[in-house]
Symmetry: C2
Subunit: 358 residues, 2 copies
């Protein structure tokens, strides 16, 4: 088990050694460890190896000049200058919040960025300003639109954070697929099958093969098949792609660059880097903040206290499981799987940093 502070110090030192500024390195540590604490290790320290490698080979720019390239009172496009994703993402979300202070809402589309970690992190930045936060990103293509056999969309997540009064905030952070890509990898490593409705083979047939992506298959949009509304999941993934990338000038659809080091960049591009989309909505642009928050408490309590299916203690509010993880993991420490710890040790050794395998 690793202490939060221990990992934070390691990540900061590592990315500073890779050429990132102190601020950027701090942001990287925050976003990766937020994922660990919230129980989403697929977006946690496992990403360090690729992020670091991309910094070292110049595939990510460690000295970026992130800037606004187009704007109106309530909107902007930000050029991330090929920075590590968290840097333009934090910049863009802060800009959306500033714009919301003047206009009631603020919306920022970001291009020329990279993998930005967990989407919910940015949506939650709005909460302390008594705003609703929204965060979207496209991702490298693993998903086939309904009726297609090609991988043309990413798992394109939608995150929305909404403040409440006595209740903790509502924080939804969902890939527009039945499950995250990582769940297939885990099943594959365990030699297990996957449920029908998660993926299809190269001809578009249902499959239970967890390794199907490597055989030309694809993940399916939320809904699974047409009968269960996969066309709706396809719509949602498409909307995320269009707002994040068509509207910002980033690469969209099959041209989104891979975020992992073992896949090369594509020869063809239709824009710059990966795209995100951020929104901030001032509660008091609509009603008195306290009144809204009390109404949110009522909404949350109604759902949470409703009668459950046998065996379920209560109905969950989006954000509940992650908050429970956070409490638990902050106390117990962060567990890192041996293969990842080994990778981190190797990187530490090569850079003269200390990292202990625990």
């Amino acid at each position: 088990m690793y202490d939060y502070k221990y990992l934070e110090k390691f990540i900061r030192s590592l990315f500073e050694s890779a050429g990132c500024s102190k601020d950027s390195a701090l942001q990287v540590s925050k976003i990766l460890l937020a994922a660990e604490l919230r129980g989403i290790p697929s977006h946690g320290v496992i990403r360090i190896k690729d992020y670091y490698h991309h910094c070292k080979i110049g595939r990510i720019n460690t000295n970026p000049h992130v800037k606004i390239v187009h704007d109106s009172p309530g909107t902007a496009v930000v050029d991330g200058d090929n920075a590590i994703g968290v840097v333009p993402a934090v910049y863009s979300m802060n800009l959306a919040i500033e714009k919301a202070k003047k206009c009631g809402t603020g919306w920022v589309a970001t291009k020329n960025s990279n993998h930005f970690g967990i989407a919910g992190f940015y949506a939650m930045m709005a909460l302390e300003h008594d705003m609703i936060g929204i965060s979207l990103t496209n991702a490298n293509p693993t998903v086939a639109p309904t009726f297609s056999v090609e991988r043309l969309l990413g798992t394109n997540p939608i995150a929305v954070a909404i403040p409440a009064l006595k209740q903790p905030p509502f924080v939804a952070d969902l890939a527009t697929t039945p499950v995250a890509r990582g769940k297939l990898t885990v099943a594959q490593k365990k030699g297990e099958g996957i449920p029908v409705g998660w993926a299809q083979d190269k001809d578009g047939n249902p499959t239970e093969d967890a390794g199907i992506i490597e055989k030309g298959g694809a993940m399916l949009p939320l809904g699974g098949d047409r009968l269960h509304g996969s066309h709706k999941g396809y719509c949602l993934g498409a909307i995320v792609d269009i707002l994040s990338a068509v509207l910002s000038g980033a690469n969209f659809g099959p041209w989104v660059p891979p975020s992992v080091a073992f896949l090369p960049l594509l020869d063809e591009t239709v824009g710059e880097g990966t795209g995100h989309f951020f929104g901030a909505i001032r509660i008091d642009g609509f009603m008195k903040t306290e009144e809204f928050k009390a109404r949110m408490d009522h909404w949350i309590e109604t759902m949470r206290n409703s009668k459950t299916v046998k065996g379920q203690p209560h109905v969950l509010i989006p954000g509940d499981p992650e908050r429970e993880n956070e409490k638990r993991i902050m106390k117990s420490g962060i567990s890192i799987i041996p293969a990842v710890a080994k990778d981190l040790k190797a990187i530490a050794d090569a850079t003269g940093l200390e990292f202990e395998i625990k």
Copy 2:
């Protein structure tokens, strides 16, 4: 088969006779016939009976004063004064568009409204202004959140319309459930079962019984079960409910009033009427409109021309099926099922209007 103009004249005359203004009656005819043309008869002339009945008994206000009750430069709350839903919805969407002209985007939450027809209609109003349009509404509760056995959310649709250049616009309009409520009714009337993943029984077990809602069952959120991501559909339906109703001051969750005449209004309320949420996003708040539209064409062509599953002619773009229906039905005429035509004839006879059963 009915001619568009014939039905338009009938609907206008009928709602004028019920006390609606000429403008309101025209809007009612437009929204109901748009649904018929787009191939969504569940939101078409079948609704006339309930709308008309509600006008006659005063459950809907035929002489409303729709007004802004709170605003900021880019946001507003509109009080629909218990009007027939299309009236405050058109007012609110136009207001969002006006606000977007100044701020880059405009967002309006609407309370004290009623059933507003197809959500896509309002989203599409933004297109001619070179804006992206968004339209959400809550609806009377038929859906159980994941792990709950209570019906606490509606089928809460999300509609998004995005303009393109040579290609027709992208128009997504989707309930946040695997299927619309109407599909269960149709299966029930045919004596058929429904696929597992659409609904659950009163204890939360999977069911194939199309009549399960009347037996205490519930529709499931998009995703169906937890394994296939129903918690994501629950999140999406929740976000629609919160933006439409918690933020506007309308009734949310289980308190959304029923839109059908055979169900009485609830004794308890937590706000006023039904709630909607509208957004307009100026394309040129982000990039030159022509450039964006050309990029949208590229996006659309990429998806549409991708390799399909055997037997499917091409991958559909959201809005394609509705456009094909519109072309076909405008030419062939609008078909009305005998039971609905009979209802309309009875209303016509009682009000001294002409309506022919064809």
